[in-house]
C-alpha cells in the first residue's frame, strides 16, 4: 500500500528526524514531514514556533543540528551534499517575507538576475522572459522602476515574479501576505492558486493568516513552540472541524490559547 502511494506521487520535500536551532537554543526537535509534488502545504503556528526556521532549513540557509532534508529526492543537508544543494537551488524559488528585491536594481533587472546567473540565454531572450514573468504577476509596464518606488503588494508580486523566473518545481513563501491589506492579500492568494493550477508547482507557505490558509492550502502542518514540533497535519477543514486538540482549535477559531 505504501509502495503504491510512493509510486503514484513522489515527495517534493522530505524532512526526516530534523532538529533545528540557533547555537544552544533548539527550536524544533525530531520533525518528520513529507510534502508531495503538486500540493500546497501551509506551515502554520503561533509566533516563535519555528515555522520560518523550518523554511530556512528547507531552502538550505540553516544547517540542521540533526536529521536530513531532501528536495526532489536529493539530500541537501550535511557535508558532502553541497552539489546536491546547488542543484536543488536551481529548481526552487523563494518568496521572502520582505520581498528581498535588490534595492539598487530595477524590477526587470531583479527578475533577470537568476536567469542571467543560472542560464546561458541571450540578452534578447532574457528580456522577453522577464517581461513575460512580470506580466504573469500583473506588473506590465513597471519594469524600469526601483523596488522602493512600489507599494508593498507590488513589491511582493515582483518578488514572486523573480522567484518564479526559472519555472521552479517548488516554491517556498515566507509569510506571503504579511503586511498586506486583505484585498491585496486575497489577490496574491489567487495568483498563487492560478500558478499552481497552470504549472503544477509544489508550494510550501509559512503563514498565520487564517483566510489565506483556508483559501489555498491542500494541507496544513501546525507547529507548536512548546512541543518544538508538529502537533497536527490535515486539510484546513479537518483541522478546523475534526481536531480535538485545544491548541489547533484555538488557532482555527481565533481564540486565545488555553492557559496551562
Amino acid at each position: 500500500m505504501a509502495l503504491v502511494e510512493e509510486e503514484s506521487r513522489s515527495a517534493a520535500v522530505r524532512v526526516e528526524d530534523l532538529t533545528l536551532g540557533y547555537g544552544d537554543r533548539v527550536v524544533l526537535e525530531a520533525v518528520d514531514l513529507t510534502i508531495w509534488r503538486g500540493e500546497i502545504v501551509t506551515i502554520l503556528g503561533g509566533s516563535g514556533c519555528g515555522k520560518s526556521t523550518l523554511l530556512k532549513a528547507m531552502i538550505g540557509l540553516l544547517p540542521p543540528l540533526k536529521g536530513s532534508i531532501a528536495l526532489g529526492g536529493r539530500i541537501i543537508t550535511g557535508s558532502g551534499n553541497e552539489d546536491n544543494l546547488a542543484l536543488a537551488r536551481k529548481k526552487i524559488g523563494v518568496l521572502f517575507q520582505s520581498g528581498a528585491l535588490m534595492g539598487s536594481l530595477t524590477l526587470a533587472e531583479n527578475v533577470a538576475l537568476p536567469i542571467q546567473e543560472l542560464t546561458t540565454l541571450s540578452a534578447e531572450l532574457v528580456d522577453d522572459l522577464v517581461r513575460l514573468k512580470l506580466e504573469m504577476v500583473g506588473l506590465t509596464g513597471f519594469d524600469t522602476l526601483l523596488p522602493a518606488e512600489l507599494s508593498g503588494g507590488m513589491r511582493k508580486r515582483a518578488a514572486l515574479a523573480r522567484a518564479m523566473a526559472l519555472d521552479p518545481e517548488i516554491l517556498f513563501c515566507d509569510e506571503p501576505s504579511a503586511g498586506l491589506d486583505p484585498v491585496t492579500s486575497a489577490e496574491l492568494d489567487q495568483l498563487l492558486l492560478e500558478l499552481k493550477r497552470a504549472l503544477g508547482i509544489t508550494m510550501v507557505l509559512v503563514t498565520h493568516e487564517l483566510p489565506s490558509i483556508e483559501a489555498i492550502s491542500d494541507r496544513c502542518v501546525m507547529l507548536d513552540g512548546k512541543v518544538r514540533g508538529i502537533i497536527a497535519v490535515g486539510t484546513p477543514a479537518e483541522l478546523r472541524e475534526g481536531s480535538t486538540d485545544p491548541r489547533v482549535q484555538a488557532f482555527f477559531h481565533r481564540r486565545s490559547r488555553p492557559r496551562t
Partner: protein, 375 residues
C-alpha cells in the same frame, strides 16, 4: 514617623498599619515609596497592613509600588496584608499574586556570573575569528573561481565601485594631501631654515610622503569613505534578506559582493596614493616658493634626485595591501550584520575602526620587512 503620603499606626500586637492619604499614582508613588522605605528601615514592623480606605485612585505605578513592597516584605520575612482595595482596581489585583514570581536577581554568585560572562566573550571572540578565517578562505576560493571563469567576472561592478571609491574620492584626497604637504613643508622649513638647508624640505617631504604618509593617509581615507560604505551596504542587504535571496538563487556571495569590491579598491588605492604623493609635493612647492625662496624647478629637481623608483613602488605596494585589507574588513563586517538597524551601525563603526587598526598593523609589518630587505 509620619509622612504627608500616609499615616502610620502601630497596634499593641506589633502590627503596623499604613493608611495612605494621597492617591497612589504616577505623581505620588515615588515620594510614597521613599517614605515607606524610610519608615520600614527605622522601625522594622513585625506585621504590615496596608490600608487603602482613604484614597481612591490607584494606577499601575501604585500597584508597582505594592508589588515591590510585597517583595521587600518577603525578603525580610514580614507578613503583609492589604485592606480595602478600591473598586475599579480589581483588574490589577490578579497581578499581585504573580509579583513574587519575579526572577530574583543574583541567584548565581557574582564570581560565577563574571566567569560565565568571561566565557561568553571568549566564545564570541573565537566565533568571530573562526568566521573571519572562513571568510578569508572563501575569498581565496572565489579568487580562484574568478580566475578560472575570467569572462564571467563582474567587471561592471568593479567599474561602478571604482568610480564610487576611486574617482569620487579624488577631490578629497587631493585637497587633504595638498594641505598635508603644505603643513609638513612649512614645519620642516621652520627647522631647516636655521641651517640654511632650505632645499632639503623637498627631500623630507617627498620621502616621507611616498614611503609612509601617502599610502597610510590614503588608506585611512578609504577606510572612512569606502570600508564603511561597504559594511553599511552589505549589512543593509543582509537585513533586507537580499543576501539570503542571492544565496538561494545560487549566487556565490563572496564572488558577487566581496570580490568586485576588493578588486576595485585594489585598483583605487595605489592610484589615489599616486595622486596623494603628487598633490602633497605640490603643497610643498607652494611653501617653497612662498617662504623659502625656492623655484618650483629647483624643488622638483631635488625631489627627482632624491626619490628612487624603489621608494615609490614600495609605497604603492603598501597601499595595495592596505586597500585590500580595508575592502575585506568592510565586506566582512557587513556580512556579520544581523537583523536590525543598530547591528548595521555597529558593524559599520567596527569596519572603520578595525580597518584603521589593520592599516597601522600592516604598516608596522611592512616597516620591519623593508628594513630587513633594505628597501
Amino acid at each position: 514617623m509620619d509622612s504627608p503620603h500616609f499615616q502610620v499606626t502601630r497596634t499593641s500586637q506589633g502590627e503596623t498599619v499604613y493608611s495612605f492619604s494621597r492617591p497612589l499614582d504616577f505623581q505620588h508613588a515615588q515620594d510614597t515609596w521613599e517614605g515607606i522605605l524610610k519608615s520600614l528601615r527605622s522601625t522594622p514592623p513585625r506585621k504590615l497592613i496596608l490600608d487603602f480606605q482613604h484614597i481612591s485612585p490607584i494606577d499601575s505605578s501604585g500597584f508597582a509600588l505594592i508589588r515591590i513592597l510585597k517583595r521587600y516584605c518577603e525578603r525580610h520575612g514580614i507578613p503583609l496584608e492589604h485592606r480595602a482595595i478600591p473598586a475599579g482596581a480589581e483588574y490589577f489585583v490578579q497581578f499581585l499574586q504573580g509579583s513574587s514570581a519575579v526572577p530574583s536577581e543574583a541567584t548565581e554568585s557574582s564570581l560565577a556570573k563574571r566567569l560565565s560572562s568571561l566565557g561568553e566573550s571568549v566564545r564570541a571572540g573565537v566565533r568571530e575569528w573562526s568566521d573571519l578565517i572562513r571568510f578569508i578562505g572563501e575569498f581565496f576560493i572565489s579568487v580562484g573561481g574568478a580566475l578560472r571563469h575570467f569572462r564571467r567576472f563582474r567587471w561592471r561592478e568593479v567599474l561602478y565601485t571604482t568610480q564610487l571609491s576611486g574617482a569620487d574620492a579624488m577631490p578629497i584626497v587631493f585637497l587633504l594631501s595638498f594641505l598635508l604637504g603644505l603643513v609638513m613643508a612649512f614645519q620642516g622649513a621652520v627647522q631647516l631654515r636655521q641651517f640654511g638647508a632650505n632645499i632639503f624640505v623637498a627631500d623630507l617631504l617627498s620621502l616621507a610622503m611616498t614611503r609612509e604618509l601617502g599610502p597610510v593617509f590614503t588608506a585611512v581615507i578609504l577606510a572612512g569613505r569606502s570600508g564603511s560604505a561597504f559594511a553599511a551596504e552589505i549589512g543593509t542587504m543582509k537585513v533586507n534578506e537580499e543576501v539570503d535571496a542571492l544565496v538561494v538563487m545560487g549566487f556565490e556571495i563572496t564572488q558577487l559582493l566581496v570580490l568586485p569590491r576588493v578588486v576595485a579598491l585594489a585598483l583605487c588605492g595605489p592610484l589615489l596614493t599616486m595622486l596623494a604623493n603628487g598633490s602633497s609635493i605640490l603643497g610643498g612647492i607652494v611653501v617653497g616658493v612662498v617662504s623659502l625662496d625656492l623655484t618650483p624647478a629647483s624643488f622638483i629637481q631635488e625631489v627627482y634626485s632624491i626619490l628612487t623608483l624603489t621608494d615609490v613602488m614600495g609605497g604603492l605596494a603598501k597601499s595595495l595591501v592596505f586597500s585590500v585589507l580595508v575592502a575585506l574588513i568592510g565586506c566582512f563586517r557587513g556580512l556579520q550584520a544581523e537583523k536590525g538597524a543598530d547591528s548595521v551601525g555597529r558593524q559599520t563603526t567596527s569596519a572603520v575602526v578595525s580597518g584603521i587598526f589593520l592599516i597601522i598593523l600592516a604598516d608596522a609589518v611592512f616597516t620591519i620587512l623593508y628594513h630587513i630587505f633594505d628597501i
